[in-house]
């Protein structure tokens, strides 16, 4: 996917509140294209991982039941403002994407 994902990371007390909006069609493979009548092939993110300052904080496996343009929110205790969040994903067709943000 060409469109970059967006990450918002802010501190709430001593907890980093991280929100991620990924760009992906999340096709289940069971939908028919309205124009051609053909099944649109399955195309969905399978793995999402996140690290803070290189340390793993989230390791998710997801399927096509996650909505189009997947949204994920999670919270990390002990992170600090200035720490670097990196979120990466890989989909069922081998496509990958990664983005980073600094905790504000």
């Amino acid at each position: 996917m060409a469109e970059p994902m967006r990450i918002r990371a802010t501190m709430a007390g001593d907890v980093a509140d991280v929100k991620v909006l990924m760009n992906h069609p999340m096709e289940t493979g069971t939908r028919k294209d309205a124009k051609t009548g053909q099944l649109v092939p399955a195309h969905f993110i399978q793995e999402v991982t996140a690290t803070i300052n290189g340390k793993a904080v989230l390791n998710a496996e997801i399927g096509p039941a996650v909505s189009k343009n997947p949204y994920l929110g999670f919270k990390v205790k002990g992170a600090k403002a200035g720490d670097k969040v990196v979120v990466s994903w890989m989909d069922n067709q081998g496509e990958k994407n990664s983005a980073e943000a600094t905790i504000g």
Binding site: R6, R8, K19, S67, K68, N69, Y71
Partner: protein, 281 residues
Amino acid sequence: MKQKIIMKLLTGMAGLGIALGAVSAHASPESDRQEMIKYYTSKYPNVKIEDYVFGALAFDADSKSQYDAIMEFPPFDSQVEAGRKMWETPFKNGKTYASCLPSGGKMIAGNYPMFDEVKGKVVTLHDVINDCRVANGEEAYKHTDAKTMGQLTAYMRSLSDGMLMNIKVEGPKATAAYEEGKKLFFTRKGQLNFACSTCHVQNAGTRLRSELISPAVGHAGHWPVFRGGDNLVMLQQRYEGCFKSVRAVPAPAGSATMNNLEYFHSALSNGMPMKANVFRK
């Protein structure tokens, strides 16, 4: 002739329980708006008029909280971003949209539709954008195309976020266009024989086919919407949808009929803050 129509309208509005007191043959758009607000707020004293910008959501907390959750980080951001690129890309001749529009296009959406005295008709934001395109050697966009007019205006309208709706109806020609729009709003149409007012005035806040109906005040300022968070719909496309829902043949988006309707309809939301790009079910 005009008197007859207005008397019919007044009877129609009286039939809706709207007091005739302030509504006369020389009623102003402002008094129409006030009458409508009085009607809604006396029917639903517990719903704040400021919340009417959220439409049906003002009447249902469960729906509103889903809207809030999704609006926190909207899934349609990339479409608005595509609109930004369109907005900022110069035409082949080097000029930009900002050069055509008052204030470079910022904080102006609430002034539209407006009555163009020179052209002698109501013009919408889409018309102004297309005039800009054509004047600069580009083709006009189709009024209902999501990828062009949709995404461009999704971004462009966001430059007016927070602006209070500010529709002006001044002079006899503008007033006539406003009254045309008002007439259409209150006229029964289609196989189902409903007027816009049947649902959005008489039945606002109640359910029709499991859907909660939104009031007409507050309607016109939160557009375009993204159905399901993804499917961009512009206001006149929604009008077309409503016409089809009552099994009437809609006038095409961008026609004088639809523009006059939008003129009247938007004036009902005067004074209310606008917001482009919202989630809708």
